[in-house]
């Protein structure tokens, strides 16, 4: 007979950390190649600058910085982390995975470690997994990192997505809690829409043609899905947490486009008092890093938000999505 596993009553996010690319690229710097303007980019996306990393900074370097920041905030020793989840679409090596190297770099010796490919939903997928791992007893402290250096996937002449992309990494430490501080994750995918956002070519085809692939999207179609379908998913996540939209105090959606964020607030029916994360205006769209970076900024600028109920939702290429309600970390949680 197999012995049972201890089941914990809940899990919580203990701390969040983040690192942005050190350069701030203005709209003027990207507008010329797409025959556009600062005004057009602002009105279409809300973006004023995007963070991009120096050429010699790797996506793993960004993730390491974010992870160290989160560990420091948690008050844990790195050796207490027993699982590392790395979400990214810009670690350009199939094997070995990035997560074991990240675990080694941060001193999470011997931790279970694996990569997760869910694009802009990667971090929220990771939080859902970490919540399940901690509650089931499979892990005690999980590091979830979302990191992307999207500048390496940019075609400067592309008008569909390249001009919004940025570089950064965010990380969270998930640990046990005496009550649930992470609501049930509502997640899923729609592979029938896989062609609407992603690489323009697979690596095999691109290399055969002697080129490096870059990203493309069908903006209006992805926008419609992001606003209307994701509003329904967000409402499911709120219901799964036993709450109503008016009880959500903070909204932290994937930072894809300010227009999407504003429409989501309206379609979900969030309160006019809700604090909405808008890190995109300065950082741009950093894919898997965007939700934790937006969280990191909110908690840095508004420490009073610790303990508040936040709805977070990641959505993007796949199409893949994940949403959950969390209680934002406070120093007292440690």
């Amino acid at each position: 007979m197999i012995a049972g596993t201890a089941v914990r009553p809940g899990a919580q996010i203990l701390a969040v950390g983040g690192v942005r690319g050190s350069q701030r690229i203005t709209n003027e710097q990207v507008a010329q190649a797409i025959d556009s303007s600062d005004e057009w980019i602002r009105s279409r996306t809300g973006i004023t600058t995007r963070a991009r990393a120096e050429p010699d900074v790797t996506v793993l370097d960004l993730a390491e910085g974010a992870a160290r920041h989160a560990i420091e905030g948690s008050g844990l020793a790195p050796t207490q982390i027993d699982a590392v989840i790395f979400g990214s679409v810009t670690y350009f090596q199939q094997t070995p995975a990035a997560a074991p190297t990240l675990a080694d770099r941060i001193g999470a010796t011997g931790a279970a470690a694996f990569d997760l490919s869910a694009a802009c939903a990667g971090y929220c997928y990771g939080i859902g997994l970490a919540d399940a791992l901690v509650r089931s007893g499979a892990a005690t402290h999980v590091l979830v990192a979302g990191a992307d250096k999207l500048s390496e996937f940019v075609d400067p002449a592309d008008r569909t997505i390249s001009f919004i992309l940025g570089d950064g990494a965010g990380a969270a430490i998930v640990g046990p809690s005496s009550r649930p501080k992470i609501g049930r994750t509502i997640w899923g995918s729609d592979g029938a829409k896989a062609g609407f956002v992603g690489q323009n070519l697979g690596f095999r085809e691109a290399f055969a043609a002697g080129i490096w692939p870059t990203l493309r999207q069908d903006g209006p179609t992805v926008y419609k899905w992001a606003v209307f379908t994701m509003a329904k998913i967000a409402l499911e996540a709120i219901t799964a947490a036993g709450l109503s939209p008016s009880e959500i105090e903070v909204f932290i959606p994937h930072q894809a486009n300010l227009r999407i964020i504003e429409q989501q607030v309206k379609r979900i029916g969030l309160s006019s008092e809700v604090v909405v994360a808008t890190d995109i205006t300065e950082t741009g769209n950093t894919s898997a890093a965007s939700v934790p970076l937006a969280t990191e900024r909110l908690l840095r600028e508004r420490p009073d938000l610790g303990g508040k109920l936040a709805l977070q939702i990641g959505f993007g290429a796949g199409l893949a999505y994940a949403a959950q309600v969390i209680e934002l970390p406070t120093p007292a949680d440690v």
Binding site: S43, R44, G219, P220, T221, Y223, K224, V227, F228, R259
Partner: protein, 80 residues
């Protein structure tokens, strides 16, 4: 029941007005979404998704992307 095009225009104008702040009386059939009303492709997508619910029809995304004028939109909804 097929919808009368005048009724479609009136309801569509209300949806557009609600979303954009443009006065309903300024939303006339010959107006171009992009050039006359300054409504971009993302706002058109929002308006048409709301119109799908309001009129109980399904409109393919690709058809919405090709729209030029308010009359094109009314015809698309009437024929959906």
């Amino acid at each position: 029941m097929a919808l009368d095009k005048d009724n479609i225009l009136q309801q569509l104008a209300e949806i557009i007005a609600e979303e954009t702040g443009i006065r309903p009386e300024d939303i006339t059939p010959t107006k171009s979404f992009a050039d006359d009303l300054d409504i971009d492709s993302l706002s058109i997508m929002t308006i048409f998704t709301l119109a799908e619910d309001a009129f109980g029809v399904e409109i393919p995304d690709d058809a919405v992307k090709d729209l030029a004028t308010v009359q094109d939109a009314v015809d698309l909804i009437a024929n959906a």
